[in-house]
C-alpha cells in the first residue's frame, strides 16, 4: 500500500491546513450569498487575478524590457533607474487613485456629499508626475556630469 505522502504529495498537516482554508472560504461564500451578489464576487476575484497577471504584469514588464534595450539604458552611466523610479511613483498613484483622477465616482460623491469634487485630481496627478520626472531628470543630469568628470579624470 502506498503511503499518504505517496498518494497525496505532501504530509497530512498540509492536507489539514488546506481543508481549513477551504472550509473558511466556503463559509465566507455562503455568508456573501446571504447578502446577494456572491457570483459577482467570485467573478471579481477572477477578474482581479486576470487584471494583474494577464494585463498589468505583462504591460509593465514589457515596458521595462523595451526601456532596457534603449541605448545607454543599462550600460554605464546607466539611466534606466532614473526612469523606473518616477514611473513607479506616478504609476502606483494612477492605479490606486484612477477613480478620482478620471472622476469615475463623482456621481456617488455628489450623491453623498451634495458637493461636486472640488479638488482637481487629474491636474494634481499630472503635476506630481511632472514633478517626480523633473526631479529624476535633475538627478540624472548630475549623475551624467559626475560620470563624465570621472571618465575625463580617467582619460587624462
Amino acid at each position: 500500500m502506498r503511503s499518504f505522502r505517496g498518494l497525496y504529495g505532501a504530509g497530512p498537516l498540509h492536507a489539514l491546513g488546506l481543508i481549513a482554508c477551504f472550509a473558511v472560504t466556503g463559509y465566507a461564500v455562503i455568508r456573501i450569498f446571504d447578502f446577494g451578489g456572491a457570483t459577482t464576487v467570485l467573478v471579481w476575484f477572477a477578474c482581479a487575478i486576470i487584471a494583474h497577471d494577464a494585463i498589468l504584469f505583462p504591460l509593465y514588464s514589457a515596458a521595462d524590457r523595451v526601456a532596457e534595450r534603449l541605448p545607454g539604458a543599462t550600460s554605464a552611466p546607466r539611466w534606466i533607474n532614473f526612469v523606473r523610479v518616477p514611473a513607479i511613483v506616478s504609476g502606483v498613484m494612477l492605479i490606486v487613485f484612477f477613480p478620482l483622477i478620471f472622476e469615475k465616482g463623482p456621481a456617488s460623491y455628489k450623491a453623498a456629499t451634495g458637493e461636486t469634487l472640488t479638488n482637481q485630481y487629474l491636474e494634481a496627478w499630472l503635476a506630481i508626475t511632472g514633478g517626480v520626472f523633473l526631479v529624476a531628470a535633475v538627478l540624472l543630469g548630475a549623475h551624467l556630469a559626475r560620470a563624465r568628470r570621472a571618465g575625463g579624470t580617467l582619460a587624462s
Binding site: L7, G9, A10, H14, A15, G17, L18, A20, C21, F22, V24, T25, Y27, A28, V29, R31, I32, F35, G36, G37, T40, W44, F45, A46, A48, I49, A51, H52, D53, F57, E68, A73, T74, R78, N81, R84, V85, I88, V89, S90, V92, M93, V96, F97, P99, L100, I101, K104, G105, S108, Y109, A112, T113, G114, E115, T118, N119, Y121, A124, I128
Partner: protein, 422 residues
C-alpha cells in the same frame, strides 16, 4: 504521459531578473505581512466599533454570522476610531506597491510546468488563487470604496468583510507552508545582509531546480540592487502616503493630500469641514428641520422639546472628532446638551441602550443604537452648535449626536427621536 512544456513563460530561461528568488520573496513577505496584520486587525475592530450586537447596528447582521464581538466599543480615548480607521485606510493604500512587488517576485510560479504534480500541489495552487485574488479583491474594493466608486454588482460591506476571511485564511496557510523557505533563505543569506550589496556586488540567488525556486536559471546582469528595489517600492509607498494620509492625520499634511477624497482645502467658516451625507441627499428639508421641529424623547416617561428648550438647558462644549469609516476625520468644537441630562428628563438614567432616529426618511444609518458606556460618558452630546455657531443643515441642524470614539455615521444628524431602553 509527459506533457510537452510550452514555450515562453513556461520555460525557466524566460525569467531573467537577477533579483528574484526565495530570499527576496521572503523579505518582501516579511515587510508586507505586518501591514496586512494592521489592516486586518483595524478592519475587524472597525466592525466592532459599530457595536454590531445592538439592535439594527450591524450591516453584517449579528447573531447569524461569525460575530465574536462581546465587548462594548470604548469611548476613550475619543480619537480611538479616527486612529483605527486612519491606520486601516493608510496601511491599505501604502501597502499596494509592496503587494505588487510581492506578486512580481512570485509570478514565475504561475507558469510552473507541469501545472499539477500531485493532489497536494493542485490544492495548494487553488489556495494560491484565493490568496492572489483575495489580496487584490480586498485591497481594491477598499480603495474603490474610499473614492466612492461602486462599479461592482455587490454590496461593498459584506464582500469586503467576508472577502477578507477568504484572503486571510489563504494567507495564514501560505505563511505556514512557506515558513521553512523563509527560515532557510534568512538563515543562508541573512535577513538584511543582501541589502548591503551595491549594484556591483549584487549576485543572483542560486537557482535550484529541485526546490522549484523562483531564482532565475539564466539571470541577466543586474541593473538595480536589491536595496535599490526596496527603496523604489518605498518611494512608491511614500508618494501614496503623502498624497492621501493628510485626510486622516490633518494639520499641514491635509493640504498635501491632493489625491485624497477628503483632503485639500475646504474653505472657511465654522461649518467648513467635510460632510459625509448632505441634507439634500438625505432628503431632509429646511421645513422638516424648521421651527416646528420637536425632539421626541422616550424612556419610562415621554417628552417633546423644541430647539429653544434644548438651548435653555445646561450647555457643554467638547472637542471631539468625527471619523469616517473611509479613513478621513476632523476634530471640531461641539456645544450642546449632555445625553445624560436628556435621559433624566424621561427618567431613563439607568437605561442600558439608546436608539436615535433621524429626520432622514430612508437609507442606511438613519438610526443608530448606543451602549451604556456611550450614554454615560459625560462628553456624549446632543450638539446644537459647532465652533460657536449653529450647526449648518448639512452638519445636522437642528441637532446631532456626537459620541467620543464612535464611527462617524453613528453621530446621527437631524435627530428626530431618542428612545432609551433597559
Amino acid at each position: 504521459m509527459e506533457l510537452a512544456r510550452p514555450p515562453g513563460p513556461f520555460r525557466a530561461e524566460f525569467w531573467r531578473s537577477p533579483l528574484r528568488g526565495p530570499w527576496l520573496a521572503s523579505f518582501l513577505g516579511s515587510l508586507l505581512l505586518p501591514m496586512i496584520v494592521i489592516c486586518a486587525v483595524t478592519g475587524f475592530l472597525s466592525h466592532a466599533a459599530y457595536n454590531p450586537g445592538l439592535d439594527g447596528n450591524a450591516t453584517q447582521r449579528a447573531g447569524d454570522g461569525f460575530d465574536l464581538y462581546f465587548f462594548d466599543w470604548p469611548t476613550s480615548p475619543a480619537w480611538i476610531y479616527a486612529v483605527n480607521q486612519g491606520l486601516h485606510v493608510i496601511t491599505g493604500i501604502v501597502a499596494i506597491p509592496l503587494l505588487f512587488a510581492k506578486l512580481w517576485s512570485a509570478i514565475p510560479k504561475l507558469f510552473e510546468w507541469p501545472p499539477v504534480r500531485s493532489p497536494a500541489h493542485a490544492l495548494e495552487r487553488l489556495s494560491l488563487a484565493l490568496l492572489v485574488g483575495g489580496s487584490l479583491f480586498v485591497f481594491f474594493t477598499g480603495i474603490l470604496n474610499v473614492q466612492l466608486w461602486y462599479p461592482f454588482g455587490f454590496g461593498f460591506l459584506p464582500a469586503h468583510y467576508y472577502g477578507a476571511f477568504i484572503f486571510l485564511a489563504a494567507l495564514t496557510l501560505h505563511v505556514a507552508i512557506k515558513l521553512p523557505v523563509v527560515r532557510r533563505s534568512f538563515g543562508e543569506r541573512g535577513v538584511v545582509r543582501p541589502l548591503r550589496d551595491d549594484l556591483e556586488h549584487t549576485r543572483p540567488e542560486a537557482y535550484d531546480h529541485e526546490a522549484d525556486s523562483t531564482a532565475p536559471e539564466a539571470p541577466a546582469a543586474p541593473t538595480l540592487s536589491r536595496r535599490g528595489l526596496i527603496a523604489t517600492i518605498g518611494a512608491g509607498s511614500l508618494g501614496l502616503f503623502i498624497v492621501s494620509a493628510g485626510q486622516a492625520i490633518g494639520g499641514p499634511l491635509r493640504r498635501l493630500a491632493v489625491l485624497a477624497p477628503r483632503g485639500g482645502d475646504i474653505g472657511g467658516g465654522p461649518n467648513a469641514f467635510p460632510v459625509n451625507k448632505s441634507a439634500a441627499t438625505a432628503k431632509v428639508t429646511p421645513a422638516l428641520a424648521g421651527a416646528n421641529w420637536q425632539l421626541q424623547l422616550e424612556g419610562p416617561s415621554r417628552a417633546s422639546l423644541f430647539r429653544f428648550q434644548l438651548a435653555d438647558m445646561e450647555q457643554h462644549t467638547e472637542d471631539l472628532p468625527i471619523a469616517c469609516v473611509e479613513g478621513w476625520s476632523t476634530t471640531q468644537t461641539w456645544t450642546g446638551v449632555r445625553l445624560r441630562d436628556l435621559a433624566k428628563i424621561v427618567g431613563a438614567e439607568n437605561a442600558t441602550e439608546l436608539v436615535v432616529e433621524s429626520l432622514q426618511p430612508t437609507g442606511a444609518f438613519r438610526k443608530a443604537a448606543f451602549a451604556r458606556n456611550q450614554l454615560d460618558d459625560e462628553r456624549s452630546l446632543l450638539a446644537l452648535r459647532v465652533n460657536g455657531e449653529d450647526l449648518s443643515l448639512d452638519h445636522g441642524f437642528p441637532a446631532r449626536i456626537i459620541i467620543p470614539g464612535a464611527p462617524g455615521v453613528h453621530n446621527t444628524k437631524w435627530v428626530s427621536s431618542m428612545k432609551w431602553t433597559s
